[in-house]
Symmetry: C2
């Protein structure tokens, strides 16, 4: 009888690899930015166009909670709050409370957040240049197997 079974060895290798993955900076970043609302919030706070992603030019602007809520139609209060907290925790946006009555809260991008946006810009450029090709490949593939 071996000191450890093959199954145990496999499980251990898996755990080691998983923790390696969890600590990989790229993996951590992907986990964060792939969140449904992160990119949109960053884009909204990073440019002052009428829609997020309209253009990269333009001053970064701060927005109030309710303003973000309107801009990102379809986001639930829960997810908006949750996402904003996460971004603030990571130092990607700032949260400013002004003690008026009722209270006013504004969110704005940090330098770190703005630099992250530039990476996402690269993603946007590739997507707009090649996603139609990907979609075409997808259709063709589906036709072949059907």
């Amino acid at each position: 009888m071996p000191t450890s079974t093959a199954a145990q060895k496999r499980a251990q290798a898996k755990d080691e690899y998983d923790s390696f993955l969890a600590q990989c900076p790229s993996r951590q970043l992907l986990d964060r930015i792939s969140d449904k609302w992160v990119a949109l919030i960053l884009a909204a706070l990073g440019s002052d166009g009428p829609h997020p992603g309209d253009g990269y030019v333009g001053e970064p602007r701060s927005m109030r909670y309710s303003e973000l809520s309107r801009r990102l139609a379809g986001v639930s209060q829960k997810m908006l709050t949750q996402t904003l907290r996460a971004l603030e925790r990571d130092g990607l946006i700032t949260r400013t409370v002004t003690p008026t009555v009722p209270v006013t809260v504004t969110y704005g991008p940090t330098d770190l957040g703005l630099s992250l946006q530039q990476v996402m810009w690269g993603v946007k450029v590739w997507a707009e240049a090649h996603m139609d090709e990907v979609l075409a490949n997808r259709k063709e593939y589906d036709n072949r197997v059907s």
Copy 2:
């Protein structure tokens, strides 16, 4: 009585925005590359280093199913097959079947897949340059609220 209630209007706006989101090229791309294994498979097929992500230089190489399975320790058969199928469908990798006995199947990157890798390279660079800062922010934030 209005022809539509406020709740109905909100629901409609949400649906419209959701479908807009679903069709956004950047969103589609993020959904694909944020998959746990996509980046790793692409990296593995795009460079011949001992580990995925070791270096961007080096020839793209083709790998067999079992080779990928070993390289990406911890991936389940189901997810590996599922991910490979999705990437092939999108035209990002090729799947080649050689009718030996038993059958031999190799996967390799396409030009499109290689170009996508360059975008992910940008992500990797940002992550390695700034994730420690993000992590530090996170720690500090947690101390403030504790």
